[in-house]
Amino acid sequence: MNSRDEAPAWVRYLFLFGALVFVALLLLLPALNVLAQAFVKGAGPYFSSIADKDTLQAIFLTTGVAILAVAVNTVFGVAASWAITKYEFWGKSLLVTLIDLPFSVSPVVSGLIYVLTFGIETRLGSWLDNHGIQILYAAPGILLATTFVTFPFVAREVMPVMEAVGIDQEEAALTLGASGWQTFWQITLPDIKWGVLYGVILCGSRAMGEYGAVSVVSGHITGKTDTLSLRVEKLYQEYQTQAAFTVASLLLFLAFLTLGVKAAVEWRLRRQLAEATRKAEPA
């Protein structure tokens, strides 16, 4: 082991050991525990827990909601980044702050606001109810709450990249006669793709795992409005500890997958930002 540190070997080993112990204790052990508990009865029960119809429904619901939430927040996140980075206007930093607002909101509150908005004791809620449209305690409500908590993710990742890349290329394309849309699709989008991808990963990961906000709006109807996190909780409450940890392990694998893809994209993203910064610096 070599390092840039001048400290004597025993100090270096102590620090390294200490750091690794914390990582193991705080991060690795919990993950291993999930796997151990999931497989405590062996592989057969593990797979049949996954094949349980209510669990499959939860997988379907969670994935569907996550895809839609990511789609909405990506489309609008990119639009917002465009509006913010390519123009000067009054209130720009206020807008950025507002977009970041969902980060400050606790999950329970994120769900509460939709109950307050769509509950059938409100005018909007009772109008919707009279027309047979159900928002709360059904998939649409879960989608809204999930979209809210993952709101800023894509915008936040795309903005710095758009900023760093600048508008020269777009201006050039426009003077050459390209339309706004052509410019966007062929110039801007390829430039920001790593930022978009990174944001999509963060957004999707959070969307799949959200618990508090969804718990408030879901209704907890088994086989219908339970997301994976809610399913974990429910199985645990119904004496099915192994099944609960099995579903948890699915989320764990998803987390590891996210980390892997994230690491790969992050490297490219940072390289792109570093290059853009270097280009912007005076020679």
């Binding site: 082991m1 540190d5 390294l16 750091a19 914390f22 990582v23 705080l26 991060l27 690795l28 052990l29 919990p30 525990n33 999930v34 508990q37 489309v75 639009a79 917002a80 465009w82 509006a83 390519k86 123009y87 507002l98 977009i99 969902p102 980060f103 400050s104 909101v105 606790s106 999950p107 329970v108 509460l112 606001i113 939709y114 109950v115 307050l116 908005t117 809204l144 809210f148 709101f151 201006e171 426009l174 339309s179 706004g180 410019t183 795992g209 959200e210 618990y211 508090g212 718990s215 408030v216 996190s229 809610l230 974990v232 948890a248 764990l252 987390a255 590891f256 996210t258 980390l259 892997g260």
Partner: protein
């Protein structure tokens, strides 16, 4: 110099404002309109009831402890990751992000299981008389997990950029390692460290899912603020729930404002 000579301003601004307004601003405004149903003294009674105050103490207190603990732990981990080479370093680096990616319910479930009296870690604590579930310690532990990456990720870039020249200079002037650390290194990384701790704090304050699995939720003792809100919600007391939610939101907003200020100060400090 940027001017509006690129098309699309109206479209993108319109889309942004619609998205922001419909999904974020209007629902959040409902908090204000709902809690405005309360008179001034009722509002105060809801927001500052003994139960709510105890919950704020736990929410902010535990978050602060966890953030400060992460300050120390995160510094150690960041130091090791930046300064040392060892096999598997990239893997360890990726592991740091686990709390970002792992759903809070899973974190709560596994921590509850680990620290239960017969759990993998709990079994060592029980003979020592230490209980680490259903009390405030459990809350601090799980919040430490949840907010760990913030300090590490805030420190890593700064430590990387630091280089070793100032240390080597101090060393050649006869400073001990500790003096070097205290007078040369630490001041340089302090802004980033504080930013990281502040971010960790903000994250821990907002945490819900993992805490409810392990804390016990006893009013006046181990209830965090979001659980008090849930309690009002489930008792159909919407205006009181909104009042506390609003108070919590304002506090979070203030914290994040402080963080932004802090990170801007630290960036200026670096240059």
């Amino acid at each position: 110099m940027r001017r509006r000579n690129i098309p699309g301003f109206k479209t993108t601004m319109g889309a942004t404002l619609a998205w922001l307004g419909l999904l974020v601003l209007i629902p959040l405004a409902r908090l204000v309109t709902t809690s405005s149903g309360l008179s001034g003294s009722e509002f105060w009674k809801a927001v500052w009831s003994p139960q709510a105050v105890a919950a704020y103490e736990l929410t902010f207190g535990a978050a602060l402890l966890a953030a400060v603990a992460n300050g120390a732990i995160g510094l150690l981990i960041a130091w090791v990751l930046v300064r040392y080479q060892f096999p598997g370093k990239n893997v360890v680096n990726s592991l740091i992000d686990i709390p970002f990616a792992l759903p809070t319910a899973v974190a709560g479930l596994t921590y509850g299981s680990l620290y239960a009296p017969k759990g993998w870690i709990g079994r060592f604590l029980t003979p020592l008389g230490i209980e680490a579930v259903h009390n405030r310690l459990a809350v601090v532990i799980v919040l430490t997990f949840v907010s760990l990456p913030f300090v590490v990720r805030a420190l890593q870039p700064v430590l990387e950029d630091l280089g070793t020249e100032s240390e080597e200079a101090a060393h050649s002037l006869g400073a001990t390692r500790w003096q070097t650390f205290r007078h040369v290194l630490f001041p340089s990384i302090l802004p980033a460290l504080l930013t990281g701790i502040a971010l960790a704090f903000a994250r821990a304050v907002g945490e819900y899912g993992s805490v409810v699995f392990v804390s016990g939720n006893i009013p006046m003792k181990t209830q965090i603020a979001p659980v008090v809100i849930m309690g009002h919600l489930e008792a159909f007391e919407f205006d009181q729930a909104s009042a506390i939610a609003l108070a919590l939101l304002v506090a979070s907003f203030a914290i994040n404002g402080g963080i932004n200020f802090l990170s801007r100060w630290s960036r200026r400090h670096e240059q």
